[in-house]
């Protein structure tokens, strides 16, 4: 009885529906019903979090949620919750709640909020769908839905610059989707299945055709994961409002790409097969190059959000690099970074948004003395930055340590060198910001300062970064506790390797 309740597959649908229904409701609401809209938004986000927690518990117990129906002959729409999908779903539902709260504050008094929050919710629904997708086809469905629902967010401001960024975003992502579709259709024609299964569904000898399919699929996903040379859209998309950037970078878009690559490697081709076919090493090389390339480019950015954007390009490739190490430890490192990077990066973006909204600061050289002016925000930013660099005992350290062990296990010592070099570069582009925040005095007035009562900024804007910053510390310090990202990643990998 109790088992039945926990195993109810409609939980999957409900987890999807919360944000989907919220989106529809919000579209219908008149522009001026702010209170109702906020309630609907936060209520849906909270409800989704509860549903996901229930499923996390269930998956931990070893249950597997599954729901499917046939769409076309041979093609199923399938939702499935396994340990890997709960990882991504958990991340997105937690961060959605925080980002929604943040966005409510951020967009106070700006037009077109119904449209914004409607697409925002759709975007999260797509992310949840990507997480819960039980086969490649369902994954693709939500992957394209994500593309469509983020476009209005990117161009939300309607300025010429935003429209240009939106255009390049849509060209990149739709082309990626098309390439992915081609790979998927070919895969189906070759293997007759699109299912995800631990250890992969591809059988037999590696062939050039399978290699070509792998390249197509990874190239399609690499666009969203901002893998070099497919990263061009990401820095431009920075014109979007801060909560959008935060969501795009930490949770939705780039992570969808990275998560997809993980799925393709581990559940479609199978780690062993992909490694034997010699597909992983080139990808690892590309990921390593992207890590260094992103970091170097970040050094030269003067715009705070652009620097963070290049940092994202660099950091997401850690995930791919980890998977490509083709060993249990490497995979743990990659997966745990999926969560860690999300939480750290969203902290940084929240803070950047706060500086922009409260002080009107967009450029790094305008940040002098922001620390004393906005202490809580700046502390959060500092924690995020140190986390990124990989300072013990913060979250980023756990990642880099595990990845390092993984690369030694895989006997690829050059990866350690890449990790070290990247950490040094990270420090090189983050420490000057921290230095400016705390150790430089302000000589002139802020570009556009807004006062929001007693606190340093609006409380909607203040709490999300503070909470995520606390989380960065906690998941680093308590990495060994059950349900911490690290333990969950180990759980995923254990199940993957010993199904």
């Amino acid at each position: 009885m109790a088992e039945d309740f926990w195993l109810n597959p409609w939980l999957l649908v409900m987890a999807l529906a919360t944000s989907m229904v919220a989106a529809l409701g919000i579209f219908m609401l008149p522009e001026e019903r702010h209170g109702l809209r906020t309630t609907l938004n936060l209520g849906a986000a909270a409800l989704k979090l509860v549903l996901v927690i229930v499923m996390v518990w269930g998956v931990f117990q070893g249950l597997e949620y599954q729901l499917s129906f046939t769409m076309l002959p041979g093609i199923e729409f399938e939702l499935k919750a396994d340990s890997l999908s709960m990882m991504f779903a958990g991340l997105s539902s937690v961060l959605w709640l925080l980002t929604t709260a943040y966005a409510v504050g951020y967009l106070e008094n700006s037009p077109n909020r119904s449209r914004f929050f409607g697409f925002f919710s759709l975007c999260v629904a797509s992310t949840t769908g990507i997480a819960l997708a039980g086969n490649l086809f369902t994954f693709f469905l939500f992957y394209e839905m994500l593309t469509l629902s983020t476009y209005p967010l990117v161009v939300h401001r309607g300025t010429a610059k935003a429209l240009k960024a939106g255009r390049s975003y849509i060209i990149y992502t739709l082309s990626g989707g098309a390439v992915f579709l081609l790979g998927m259709a070919w895969l189906y024609a070759e293997t007759g299945t699109l299912d995800f299964a631990p250890g992969g569904v591809v059988e037999g000898e590696p062939t050039p055709v399978l290699a070509a399919i792998f390249v197509l699929l990874v190239a399609g996903l690499g666009v969203k994961a901002a893998l070099f040379p497919l990263h061009g859209w990401l820095p431009q998309a920075m014109v979007a409002p801060a909560p959008v950037s935060a969501l795009l970078h930490a949770v939705a878009v780039v992570k969808a790409g990275a998560f997809g690559i993980v799925r393709v490697i581990s559940d479609v081709f199978g780690m062993g097969f992909a490694n034997e076919a010699g597909l992983l090493l080139p990808l690892a090389g590309l990921a390593a190059f992207t890590i260094l390339f992103g970091s170097v480019r970040a050094l030269f950015q003067q715009d705070l959000k652009r620097r963070l954007a290049y940092s994202t390009i660099s950091q997401v490739s850690y995930i791919i690099l980890g998977i490509c190490l083709a060993g249990p430890l490497g995979m743990v490192g990659g997966l745990v970074h999926l969560l860690h990077q999300g939480i750290m990066k969203i902290t940084l973006f929240f803070c950047a948004g706060n500086y922009a909204e409260t002080l009107g600061v967009h450029r790094i050289d305008e940040l002098d003395g922001a620390g004393p002016r906005m202490p809580a925000t700046s502390v959060a930013f500092t924690i995020g930055a140190f986390g990124m660099i990989g300072t013990p005992p913060l979250a980023g350290f756990i990642t880099k340590w595990t990845l390092g062990l993984g690369s030694l296990e895989a006997e690829l010592p050059w990866v350690v060198a890449v990790l070290l070099a990247s950490s040094i570069l990270n420090a090189a582009y983050f420490l000057p910001i921290v230095h400016r925040l705390w150790f430089r005095a302000r000589s002139d007035a802020w570009p556009e300062e807004v006062r929001w009562g007693r606190l340093e900024t609006l409380s909607w804007l203040l709490w999300p970064p503070v909470l995520t910053a606390v989380a960065v510390v906690l998941i680093g310090v308590f990495a060994a506790v059950p349900f911490s990202p690290l333990s969950w990643a180990e759980l995923v990998v254990n199940r993957e390797y010993r199904p």
Binding site: T70, P73, M145, P152, I170, L174, A185, A189
Partner: protein, 487 residues
């Protein structure tokens, strides 16, 4: 029972045409409600009947073929009848509100509308080559009449071009019919197909088939014979454009497909099949490209029709001398593409009409800021666009998926590239419209709000086309209903 269903489909639209000619526009509209209800009911009943007892030939006037005219009532025909009932009803409901009842010429809208519907049903069910010709003419002339209705110089020019193209196409088809009759001595498609199986690769029959296909391609606006389409579809009132793009074009394509499936294998050739596919591919690329350049909203949609029709012609290479399974996939893909394009394009034209009505301008650039005032119609337009871009879960995606499988399965991978490129190009013109509407407004604030119903209809159609992919299997099941040759 069956006789009444046939009558319901073939004769009631004609009767309604007569009655609404007697009535004015408003009375005609009230009449139309009843007529559309009857059509919907009859279509569903026919579907149930076929599902129950399988498809069959129906001899009109109790004269069996080849002497009399036979109707072929099978799953595919029922699919198209249901589609027609859906789309035509939507367009009719939209037209009743959209058209200005005080203009004296609007009273002739309903008779033409019903004649068009009768012609469509006649074509879906027709299994007699000459009867199909008459059905085509019925459709073409009423479509031309609808385009020209009350029109000014531009509309007349468009309708004249349309008329001439349609007539030339019909004559090509008829010449082909003449040769087929000379060759096989019968006009019944079933009889011809049977004879063709015993006598393969007859030179004359091959030429006749090519002639008929050429004429039908002209009527379907296959590149490079598409020149007449954008003006006609772009300038007609929106409900008419929707009807033309969604259904009228499909009628001639449907005949071409039926001919090809019946005769292509035995009398066609690799060259004809590949040529049709190549022209279709060119249509996809050229139509999409032209759609990106059009300054007027409805022209964009019209060129998109040129492109989308191109996909349909991939049916020819994908069903010629391939395994049954691949041919089946291609046919299913084609059917889904017809349905999803019909729904999406009707939604798009109706939504475009609302946008034009609301901004008072037909230019794309004047859409700036409309996103704030008319999100509902814009949203319908967008959802329909998703289907045209063939993104999942839309019907367009399901169609493309099946076609992709057929291309890969038959080893003709070059069509796969066309399918992919076409999807991207259609995204380009759809996003061009979004982009214009997201632009923050330069002053223009006096948007007119169309009535609720005008907004609801395109939305319903767009949702149908979007959800079609999810219901792909049951829809294809209708098409796959069994057919008994002598039932």
């Amino acid at each position: 029972m069956m006789a009444w269903l046939m009558a319901g489909l073939l004769f009631t639209p004609l009767a309604w045409a007569v009655m609404s000619l007697m009535a004015g526009f408003r009375a005609g509209w009230r009449l139309a409600w009843l007529g559309m209800a009857v059509q919907g009911l009859v279509s569903v009943l026919l579907w149930l009947a076929i599902a129950d007892q399988g498809g069959f030939y129906y001899a009109l006037g109790d004269w069996p073929a080849p002497l009399g005219i036979e109707l072929r009532v099978d799953g595919l025909a029922v699919t198209f009848i249901l589609l027609t009932a859906t789309v035509a009803t939507a367009c009719g409901l939209h037209a009743g509100v959209y058209l200005d009842p005080d203009k004296p010429w609007q009273r002739y809208f309903w008779p033409l509308f019903w004649f068009l519907w009768a012609g469509l049903n006649a074509v879906w069910l027709g299994a007699d080559l000459f009867n199909l010709y008459v059905g085509l003419e019925l459709i073409s002339l009423s479509a031309v009449g609808l385009v020209a209705l009350g029109g000014a110089g531009d509309a007349l020019r468009a309708s004249l071009r349309y008329l001439l193209a349609a007539l030339v196409g019909s004559l090509f088809y008829l010449l082909g019919v003449a040769l087929i009759y000379g060759q096989f001595g019968t006009l019944s498609l079933g009889g011809v197909a049977q004879l063709a199986e015993d006598h393969t690769a007859l030179a004359g029959a091959g030429i006749a088939l090519a002639l008929m296909l050429a004429g039908l391609a002209l009527k379907t606006a296959l590149f490079p014979l598409h020149g007449w389409l954008p003006p006609a579809h772009g300038i007609a009132p929106s409900p008419v454009s929707a009807l033309l793009s969604a259904l009228v074009l499909k009628a001639s394509f449907y005949i071409a497909a039926r001919l090809w499936l019946a005769l292509g294998e035995t009398q066609g050739s690799y060259g004809v099949a590949q040529l049709a596919g190549a022209l279709g591919a060119a249509a996809v690329l050229w139509g999409s490209w032209m759609a990106c350049l059009q300054p007027r909203l409805k022209q964009v949609v019209a060129y998109s029709t040129v492109a989308q029709v191109g996909y349909l012609f991939l049916l020819f290479p994908l069903t010629w001398q391939v395994s049954d399974q691949i041919s089946q996939q291609a046919q299913e893909g084609m059917t889904l593409q017809v349905i999803s394009h019909a729904l999406a394009k009707a939604a798009m034209f109706l939504a475009a009409g609302n946008l034009v009505l609301s901004t008072g301008s037909s230019k794309v650039e004047d859409l700036a800021g409309v996103g704030r005032f008319l999100p509902f119609s814009l949203f319908s337009f967008g959802l329909a666009g998703v289907s045209l871009m063939s993104l999942p879960p839309s019907g367009g995606f399901a169609a493309k998926w099946l076609l992709l499988q057929a291309t890969i399965g038959s080893g003709q991978w070059w069509w796969a590239l066309v399918l992919i490129a076409g999807g991207l190009l259609s995204a380009a013109y759809v996003f061009r419209i979004y982009r214009a509407s997201f632009q923050e407004a330069s002053g223009q604030d006096d948007f007119h709000h169309p009535p609720r119903r005008l907004e609801a209809i395109p939305m319903a159609l767009a949702l149908l086309s979007l959800g079609l992919g999810l219901a792909g299997e049951p829809v294809l099941a209708i098409m796959g209903l069994p057919f008994e040759e002598d039932g």
